[in-house]
């Protein structure tokens, strides 16, 4: 998907940092990069000014989510050295004009949409970071279980005992041979979110913790696993709606010949 984005950089400009930053912007609900999701329609940089055109799955995507992504794009690109102005475009989104005017001016959502209530976007962002944490943890738990780890073992694991070896998770405990425990990418996504939420990431910290940083006992783990499973399934269900809309949009973009009959 990234390769398909039309990019216009000044001659000789190394845009890798910029793309890296852009790739860090997530659709909060899908918990995936907007770049990988195909939401970035084009990217242009001229004289220190970046212009990013977004295309969301429909023009009726919720205003607060659209705002949040647009704002995140602006913040992400402003953090790149040499970029001093960012303009985000939202195409035919139903509130494109208001969102663009406010985001590009650095104004807050509450300021731009007072009728939407005083609920700040920061709270929404945090809610989805936390849901994403649980969803990522569920995938890790599933991987560990599939690799044969018992609840007691999982609960006893410390961060310092897990590492990445090639594409797999390697579990090393004193006096035991290393064990392969699942996908490295799943572990990395879980650890990244742990950092973002400022949860304890020291080597002694338990691998599996709740949102307050507390570890689980083996008999509490099953109930927790079932609870996070519902979070993951709910996110995936909403995600599949968005994916369905995106697939139609891609067909439309491909022209009438590509359209479903």
């Amino acid at each position: 998907m990234r390769d398909a984005v039309p990019i216009e950089f000044p001659a000789g400009y190394d845009g890798s940092v910029l793309l890296e930053q852009l790739a860090r912007v997530l659709d909060p609900e899908l918990d995936e990069s907007i770049l990988d999701l195909g939401f970035v329609r084009s990217l242009r940089l001229r004289f220190g000014q970046a212009e990013v055109a977004l295309r969301l799955p429909t023009s009726w995507c919720a205003v607060n989510f659209a705002y949040l992504m647009a704002e995140d794009v602006r913040r992400a690109l402003l953090s790149v050295e040499g970029i001093d102005r960012v303009t985000v475009r939202l195409g035919d989104h139903c509130a494109a004009a208001e969102i663009e005017a406010a985001v590009n001016d650095g104004r807050s959502f509450a300021d731009a949409f007072p009728a939407e209530g005083a609920r700040s976007l920061a709270a929404l962002r945090l809610t989805f970071l936390r849901k994403g944490f649980l969803s990522r943890q569920e995938r890790l738990l599933r991987d560990l279980r599939d690799a044969g780890c018992t609840p007691t073992w999982i609960c006893a694991l410390r961060l310092g005992e897990v590492s990445v070896q090639d594409d797999a998770i390697a579990i090393r405990q004193p006096g035991c041979a290393p064990v392969a425990g699942g996908s490295a990418a799943i572990l990395q996504r879980y650890l990244e979110r742990r950092v973002e939420l400022a949860l304890d990431c020291s080597p002694e910290a338990p691998l599996i913790i709740d949102l307050e940083g507390a570890p689980f006992s083996a008999d509490r783990l099953q109930a927790h696993y079932e609870a996070v499973r519902t979070v993951r399934v709910a996110l995936e269900a909403n995600g599949s709606f968005c994916q369905a809309l995106l697939s139609v949009q891609r067909l439309d973009a491909a022209g009438p010949s590509g359209h479903a009959k």
């Binding site: 023009s59 994916q243 369905a244 067909l251």
Partner: protein, 188 residues
């Protein structure tokens, strides 16, 4: 009636609509993008052989609807909702007045739902009473995302929503068939 293993099953379609989103009825770009968004959902979520072309999807009229539900379909009764959207469609997306034309022809097939909008405040109370008195309303569809005069919707905890619900409760049917949808179609 639908028959399964020798048992008759009475089927109620719990949520359905007549609608007119033909281009002639679009009031602005929102009328267009709103129905396109729904068509995208329909296209993305339906098996390929069931997908309707956009022009067919734009209007779900009486003839097709009655045929789909009761003749070729196995529905016995349907709850017919009203979603007005006058800011997007010249004659509305549908209204209880339009829906009642269909209901009047098939009175035993439909449960007709009206609506209220707390943003009408006191001024809407009389209209609400009239709607209930003059039409065979048996329930409400509450569409909180309806745009009006610069507002992008309302919340159920609006004190005026409470007032209208109290009025509805007096009619003794609201709790049976009220439905509340959050759309537009975004799942968020």
């Amino acid at each position: 009636m639908y028959n399964h293993d020798g048992h008759d099953i009475f089927v109620v379609d719990g949520h359905m609509h007549f609608w007119d989103a033909n281009p002639e009825n679009w009031k602005n770009k929102y009328g267009e993008s709103w129905i396109k968004c729904f068509h995208a959902f329909h296209s993305g979520l339906s098996p390929a052989e069931e997908v309707w072309p956009f022009n067919k999807f734009c209007r779900y009229g009486e003839e097709v609807l009655v045929n789909d539900l009761f003749r070729t379909g196995y529905v016995d009764m349907a709850i017919l909702n009203s979603t007005y959207l006058y800011e997007f469609y010249k004659n509305g997306f549908n209204s209880h007045v339009q829906n009642n034309v269909i209901k009047a022809k098939h009175p035993d097939r439909f449960i007709l739902c009206g609506s209220f909008d707390p943003r009408d405040e006191e001024a809407g109370v009389e209209a609400f009473r009239r709607m209930v008195a003059e039409y065979p309303i048996q329930g409400l569809k509450l569409y909180t995302a309806e745009w009006r005069n610069g507002s992008r919707g309302w919340r159920l905890n609006d004190p005026w929503a409470y007032k209208y619900l109290t009025l509805a409760q007096d009619k003794n049917w609201a709790s049976r068939t009220s439905t509340c949808t959050r759309g537009p179609p975004s799942t968020r």
